[in-house]
């Protein structure tokens, strides 16, 4: 059971947020209303998706103070606790792609399929393209295709034909590219990587106790961030780490655990990172 601690916590967070959103529309709850693009806590405190706001600014929208404040609040929250915590603890699409990944492992698809290589930096190019397209077309470009908001709105207001996109992403992640959407393409993940670059909560590896079983590398959706496994005792500092805690869950040797990043004694870690 302890192998699923963070997974269960994450699912509970994701589902209870969806429940709060759903209840706001269905029953008039006011704890968390709106959608993941922009919400309101108790009808007063605004929260907004910083990437959506960026796109809208690129599209030339004159935005009111509320939505800008909401974006700053969200950026600050994830900037401090972050490390892409949004992706693994809040984003509902994470459940879709995790399901695809689970089925991949069960069906041994990784062992059989022809490997397709796509750069994991694609998401950062997607950010740039999204902003350029927003600027040219005068509308938030990613928001019209985002499966994140389609799934979120689907739960709250009912699914439409947009559900097809979610099935497509599931199939893409299952058969075409491992961690294809969340780990390569999603520009919102890219934005949260950048926002959470200096965040405090980090997974720390202890190579002394590591038995090199590599379970963590099998399960990690951003496997490149675990480059230190079995080599050096250091924190996972690459910005793409989603803080999902699956590596901590599956580790039988207590070699991985969440810590608060120590900026004061961080010099050694920084030099280690530079060596890589």
């Amino acid at each position: 059971m302890s192998n699923y601690k963070y997974l269960i916590l994450r699912r509970m967070t994701q589902l209870s947020l969806l429940l709060l959103y759903f209840g706001a529309n269905a029953f008039g709850w006011s704890i968390l209303s709106g959608t993941i693009s922009s919400s309101s806590i108790l009808g007063t405190l605004p929260l907004s998706d910083p990437f959506a706001v960026l796109q809208m600014l690129a599209a030339g929208a004159a935005l009111s103070f509320d939505v800008l404040l909401g974006a700053v609040i969200i950026a600050l929250i994830y900037g401090v606790i972050g490390g892409r915590a949004f992706c693994s603890w809040v984003c509902p699409v994470n459940m879709v792609t995790d399901a695809a990944n689970w089925l991949r492992r069960k069906l041994y698809i990784d062992k059989i399929e022809r490997k397709v290589w796509v750069s994991r930096n694609l998401r950062y190019y997607m950010i740039v393209i999204a902003l350029i397209v927003s600027f040219i077309t005068g509308m938030a470009a990613f928001e019209i295709i985002s499966p994140i908001t389609i799934l979120n709105r689907g739960v709250i207001f009912g699914f439409g034909a947009g559900a097809g996109l979610l099935i497509a992403i599931f199939i893409f992640d299952l058969f075409v590219l491992k961690n294809g959407w969340c780990g390569h393409i999603c520009p919102l993940g890219g934005v949260h990587s950048i926002i959470g670059k200096y965040s405090l909560f980090r997974v720390k590896h202890d190579s002394e106790s590591c038995t090199l079983c590599m379970k963590c590398k099998d399960i990690c959706p951003e496997v490149q961030v675990l480059h230190m496994i079995g080599k050096r005792s250091e924190s996972v500092l690459m910005q793409e780490c989603t803080n999902c805690g699956r590596c901590v869950d599956v580790c039988d040797d207590d070699s991985l655990g969440f810590t608060i990043r120590n900026y004061i004694k961080n010099n050694q870690e920084v030099t280690n990172e530079n060596v890589n």
Binding site: A24, N25, G28, S33, G34, T35, S37, S38, S39, S40, G43, P46, S48, D49, A52, V53, M56, A59, G60, A61, A62, L63, S64, D66, V67, G70, Y125, V128, I129, A130, I132, V133, I136, T137, G138, M139, A140, A141, E143, I144, I145, T149, I150, R153, I156, F157, G158, F159, G160, A161, G162, G164, L165
Partner: protein, 294 residues
């Protein structure tokens, strides 16, 4: 020993072999990346233009002009939730909540996904006095100032401007001479937005026409008339103003109307005369000229 000829061939092959320099590799990679980016961007932008959807969409009250609305709406759905949970939203007959007027567009709807809109034949706008859908908007896509009375500083539902009702006088049975004032009675701005024009029915010689006429400056486009219309497909229906209304332009001014003269005040000082080839001469000149039409 290699003959001279063979040696020449070898040298030639050596020359023809393409050297992949680091610079060539770098430039190719850059071109490839840029090409992929431009291709994706073009597809994306092309889809975005389509995703704007139909201009026939009716937006919530106090929405900005469609283009500005599309770039400013963050698709949060707070307006739709406020619409569903408004206090006035109880069906008097069943004492249950009515469905919300505002719907959030799904992929199959003919407007940009995730944006709020309404279809009067399904659920019209009930024109709540407190306009709950507007103040909750976090971005300003629904602009409170558009429905705020400047004198009193309070929200004024009569300032809503979602669209305008249009009567198809061919299908409206009131225009046939049959008595029907369903739309007139349903209008929340009774006898203001829809007025009845009385006329004599020459066909029978003893009946009256009571024809509904829309007051374009007053109608808010709530759609209660469309919902109330008794014909199989409503003969009175709401359309966005940009679509249903014409525009006389600045050349045509009601000289008897001070308000209308203000409308073109910004144009004073500009040359408003039409200049054609013919107007270069004086009228008397070209009237006296012989013109050959070949």
């Amino acid at each position: 020993m290699i003959s001279k000829k063979e040696k020449d061939v070898r040298v030639k092959k050596e020359v023809n072999k393409i050297q992949i320099t680091p610079r060539r590799r770098f430039l190719t990679n850059v071109a490839q990346g840029a090409g992929l980016g431009v291709m994706g961007g073009l597809l994306w932008a092309g889809y975005a233009q389509k995703a704007k959807g139909s201009v026939l969409t009716l937006r919530p009250p106090a929405a900005l002009a469609e283009d500005d609305f599309l770039r400013t709406c963050i698709k949060c759905g707070l307006c739709a939730e406020a619409c569903l949970h408004r206090e006035s939203n109880i069906d008097k007959e069943t004492s249950k909540p009515r469905p919300a007027t505002l719907k959030m567009a799904k992929a199959q709807d003919d407007t940009m996904i995730g944006t709020p809109f309404f279809v009067p034949t399904e659920v019209p706008c009930y024109m709540c006095e407190d306009i709950p859908c507007v103040p909750v908007c976090p971005t300003g896509a629904l602009d409170e100032t558009l429905v705020t009375n400047k004198q009193s500083g309070e929200l004024d539902f009569s300032m809503m401007d979602m669209g305008i009702a249009v009567v198809d006088s061919n299908s409206c049975i009131a225009f046939w001479g049959i008595q029907c004032d369903a739309c007139y009675r349903a209008c929340p701005l009774l006898d203001e937005a829809i007025k009845l024009e009385y006329g004599r029915n020459e066909r029978t010689g003893k009946h009256a026409f009571l024809k509904p006429v829309i007051e374009m400056d007053i109608c808010t486009g709530c759609g209660l008339c469309e919902k109330a219309c008794v014909t199989e497909k409503p003969a009175i229906f709401v359309q966005p103003r940009e679509l249903a209304l014409g525009k006389p332009g600045d050349h045509y001014v009601k000289g008897w109307d001070k308000k209308d003269q203000k409308r073109v005040a910004s144009q004073t000082g500009k040359d408003m005369t039409t200049h054609a080839k013919r107007s270069e001469e004086k009228a008397a000149d070209y009237l006296n000229q012989e013109i050959s039409y070949e």
